[in-house]
Amino acid sequence: MKLLSIDTSSQSASCAISEDGKLLGEFFTNVNLTHSQTILPMVHDLLEHTRTTLSQMDGFAVTTGPGSFTGLRIGLSAVKGMAHALGKPCVGVSTLETMAYHFQGQRCLVAPVLDARCAQVYTALFRWEGNTITRLAEDQAIPIQQLGESLKNVKETVFLVGDGADLCYNSLNEQLPCLALAPSFLRYTRASVLAAAAQTAFSLGNTVSAQDLIPAYLRLPQAQRELLAKQK
């Protein structure tokens, strides 16, 4: 089956076309957040270069968050539009879980981290043992220091991925020697990796219709310091 995967959930934007687990093509940009202007032309060009058409797609995958408010709405709207028009099934995957898939096949811990601003991150924790992934922590929005607390008893290496990886590494590596930065080419969400993460759900038939695809915004905690100083 052919799958079109789209990610616009954070700084980068990408789309990928895959067939039965094989990547046919991918378009990735990491320039700024004007995903609303770039993602559909990217899809258009990718279809052209892979000699495929939209109607040949058997399903659509999209990252459902957490992530940028605008970005999530762009990706979901694009996928909903195409899937609804063609009557094709969809799979939504957590942005953080998608990033953890960069380490498929390894034996390691992965903590995806997205910068949620104001010293907060969206994060989770996963363990890879070969091709088996185990989720050890739910997607959550927490202050960076709380992430540090939650990892302080971990004895093995934890790979940081995501656009908040540098930020977390620099704030926490002194207190947490277990942290390791994923290489920069594995740091960002990639539609090709989303395709891999969504593949299992498609093969098991765990799909949803376009209208049941919903974004997973995470509530940001009112951080330890006062975020909004009201002086009205």
Binding site: S68, C118, L220, E226, L227, L228, A229, K230, K232
Partner: protein
Amino acid sequence: MIEFTSHSTEETEQFAQRFAAQLKPGDIIACVGGMGMGKTAFARGLAQGLGLGDDVSSPTFALVHEYTQGSLPLYHFDMYRVNSFDELYSTGFFDYLELGGVLLIEWSENISGALPPNTITLTIQRVDNHTRHITIEGERF
């Protein structure tokens, strides 16, 4: 620090127009000053100075107005109705920080804890009915 005394709406607008020449991509200007201080006049001057025309109105209802027809876009926010971090998130504010334009934020007091450290502060104080004392503070000013 830049200080300027304006004696009319027109002078405020002209001052902002000249000030626009010193702005760079990614600059964030946080306005402090109540209603009727001339913030919209300042915004109009800024837009003119950036070559974005003068059709500028208060973004109180839309939360943000975008002026993107020039080389340096202007994103004009009004945070009067923003009361929580979640609300701020759902204005798309954090996404606008990445766009490489200039952000002008009215009622920035409401989000002061979420402003990046390099934010430029614009204070407009009332002297009398027509006179305003304008102060601009920031790393480059």
